[in-house]
Amino acid sequence: MRLRVYAVAYLVFLYAPIALLPIFAFNDATIIAFPLSGFTTDWFSALATNTALHTAVKNSLFIAVMTAILSTLLGMCAARAGAMARFPMKAGIMGFIMLPLVLPEIIVAVSLLVVVVQIMGWGLSNWTIIAAHVLICTPFCIAILNGAFQNLDPSMEEAAMDLGESRFSAFRLVTLPLVAPGIVSSMLIAFTISLDEFIIAFFLSGASPTMPVYIWSMLRFPASLPVVMALGTILVALSIVLLTIAEILRRRGMARAGVKDKGGFL
């Protein structure tokens, strides 16, 4: 009982900052502090006319969509290989691919910056960010896709091949439909991570900033803070919707694969 009270208190601690977002987003004052002064939707309408923000959002959406597709493709290769019995140096290779999960993001950012700009002499663009985001998102995709690919009965594909399908079409016709929910879930998670990622994007963005980089620049000006709160409210609502869909699909994928759900993305 005492543990339950503690756990609920802990959830309150986790949600406290997010809960404040809509409060200040609708508050009719330029200072982000209590007491509240009145209700307004001005900050939301200010978002609609901010063209610099729109450009940043478009950049971020492009980066997030590309990252979602590419990291899920790489994740599928790894999860599928991981579900297969044995190949040389399996544990070492898998561990290496999962390494970005624990690597400090600033290390990823500066090492790529050094290679791209100083050594290769290339310019920075959305693609440098995509390259880095795919690197850090792939381990998350693998973690999710493992749930879908593992314990998938290999005899189903074998049956399809015995009945005359090629290896690839057996995969496409039998396995792919079974893991489809996991694939969508993995893409949604990668999309969410990429859309929100700041540390790497700050180092690797070229002339046009991503949305978090633009938010960072807004945080320095007190006058723009209420608008940031309004933007944050929309983002939080959006990511809760995306994550809920991802979670439902992930569970459905695990159910299709016949795995008992142990919960959690990681």
């Binding site: 543990l3 997010i18 404040l20 200040f24 390494l99 990823v108 792939t138």
Partner: protein, 290 residues
């Protein structure tokens, strides 16, 4: 060759794993090697001097600011790890032992949601909570517990620790939860049947068996926190800047990438060394018990 690869399961496995493997090799291993190489070079404004030198490392050792920043960063990372894991353990324990199985994923989902949402704005909101006119101060003054706003909770190391402990909470809960889930419940019954109290059962059975999860939680919090510069920048004030802020400054403001690279290498080596020492001590401790 192709025939040989596709005809065996091991060959197909290697073929499948090679795209993600080579991606990680080219975008992770090569850049990490490059940054080590780079740290032995020097930069004079825009010109890169590629003669091998230890000057960057010499500067880091000789100028006290770098040592101080590194020390403070390690202190912050260690404190965040300690706070996060201590706060997280009871939650993981509760979800694993006291929540009905069909409700477990809902709890884990609720715990992970805040972690995925708008990192920058979340950090900023801690400023609103902890600030001079913030939620905590105005709340405590309203109920009359304090007369003046508390100032030790913003623009210093404490604020950085609180904010990071919040940001890394799910990272600590999930591995501990997984380890607790794997514990065979009949072992706990056996311990109590043999006369151990509930507390002793926890200390002598549950805790040692959850050690792999605890170690994973410690590593997964301790290592990445060293690389965060957003939280110290927003919450740390003048006295709360960390090594990551210095790396960022060297790269983006002072245009001294080689020194920044050397700092990154030093930070990485320190963190890795401490993590390895922790893991080894833990293995020895667990061995000593059995």
């Amino acid at each position: 060759m192709w025939q040989k690869l596709t005809s065996t399961e091991g060959g197909r496995g290697l073929l499948l794993i090679s795209p993600p493997f080579f991606y990680a090799l080219v975008l992770l291993a090569v850049p990490l090697g490059a940054i080590v190489l780079f740290s032995f070079w020097t930069q004079d404004f825009m010109n890169l001097d590629t003669t091998f030198t230890l000057n960057n490392y010499r500067e880091i050792v000789e100028k006290p600011i770098y040592g101080a920043l590194l020390q403070r960063s390690l202190y912050v990372s260690a404190s965040v790890t300690l706070v996060t894991v201590l706060l997280a353990f009871p939650v993981a324990y509760f979800v694993s032992f006291h929540v009905r199985p069909e409700r477990k994923s809902l709890w884990l989902f609720l715990i992970t949601i805040p972690f995925w949402t708008s990192y920058l704005i979340r950090v900023f909101l801690w400023k609103v909570i902890l600030g001079y006119n913030g939620v905590i101060n105005s709340g405590l003054m309203k109920i009359g517990l304090i007369d003046e706003p508390l100032t030790f909770i913003l623009y210093n190391v404490n604020a950085v620790i609180i904010t990071l402990a919040h940001a890394f909470a799910p990272f600590a809960i999930l591995p501990i939860f997984v380890a607790l889930e794997k514990i065979d419940r009949s072992l706990l019954e056996a311990s109590q049947d043999l006369g151990e109290s509930k507390l002793m059962t926890f200390l002598r059975v549950t805790l040692p068996l959850s050690m792999p999860g605890l170690v994973a939680a410690v590593l997964i919090v301790f290592i990445p926190t060293i690389g965060d510069y957003v939280t110290p920048e927003l919450m740390g004030g003048a006295g709360g800047k960390l090594i990551a802020n210095m790396i960022q400054t060297q790269f983006l403001a002072l245009n001294n990438a080689p020194l920044g690279a050397a700092l990154a290498v030093v930070a990485m080596i320190s963190v890795t060394a401490i993590s390895l020492a922790f893991v080894l001590l833990n293995i020895r401790w667990l061995k000593g018990r059995s």
